[in-house]
Assembly symmetry: C2
Homo-oligomer: 158 residues x 2
Amino acid sequence: MILSTKGRYGVRAAFDLALHYGEGPITLKSISERQNLSDPYLEQLIAILRKDGLVTSVRGAQGGYLLSRHPSKISVGDILRSLEGPMAPAECVLDDQDKECIKADYCVTRILWEKIMDSIDKVIDSISLQDMADDYERIEKDYTQEEGENVDKKKSLC
Amino acid sequence: MILSTKGRYGVRAAFDLALHYGEGPITLKSISERQNLSDPYLEQLIAILRKDGLVTSVRGAQGGYLLSRHPSKISVGDILRSLEGPMAPAECVLDDQDKECIKADYCVTRILWEKIMDSIDKVIDSISLQDMADDYERIEKDYTQEEGENVDKKKSLC
DNA sequence: CTTAATCCCGACTGATTTAGTAGGGATTAC
DNA sequence: GTAATCCCTACTAAATCAGTCGGGATTAAG
């Protein structure tokens, strides 16, 4: 049940934008460098976020991307659902008449999928990009300073 | 983020076994008929559950499958993790040194994935097959009696 | 002892999704 | 005018999904 890179990279990109919120347009290239992502690929992901109104773009030289709202008003859930679709474990819990289960609202399995979806939504909607940025300021910065260049090559970022 | 059919069908099969717990070996064929699943495919899924010790088999004529423990002692999480692997949104939260994130335990993104995984685990581990069977006895049976043959062909089971 | 009902196992496959790459077009600050 | 950007479409290799297929092993029942 691993999320695809879309959702994972997308969260990292959005988190990066949150860290630089208020600094004007951030270029795709700087995001992909800091986050270690292929930039043509990241471009596609940001395009989705833009279509969903989570990110705004400024074209031309000195252009770049910005979060369209304050980071405290954008949740990780907004980003994940935009890129991955609804966090439904099964199609039957989607708001789509055709995808509805034959047994409709008295289906035990459906109740299960709904409980799972609700619990995922609850967590991801309760965490904003601002929360992540705050956590970063609190814990991550200290470490990165004292860290040398001796990173284990087998390991990657998440 | 839709679960694969493995997990979804597997839960239905396990639920079916829970409903017939105590009735001796249940044949694959009867499960696949009741649950409307292809039986060679279901066979593969049950093989996984068997290898993970959740289901026991009895070979030969009059054989079939049984839950290896009382339905109240098997959670939906046991079934799902057996078939789908750990409910981790990213590899870095797995207990595997090599898959660990470079930034290890001070990575903000990792904390996020962990929170999501924990919340999924909490729900799926809190629901046992017995719980599902009980729900079924309570709500589903009433409906199926009064229901006619007029099912919407576009819809399926979940 | 034969037979039918079962489970058991590995190989194969078409369709879809994933995780990108490639290449060029449009826009704008300088 | 030009360099730095974002914007868009098309392509692709590899992996995964969702099965199918065919035969082998085991055992209860007659």
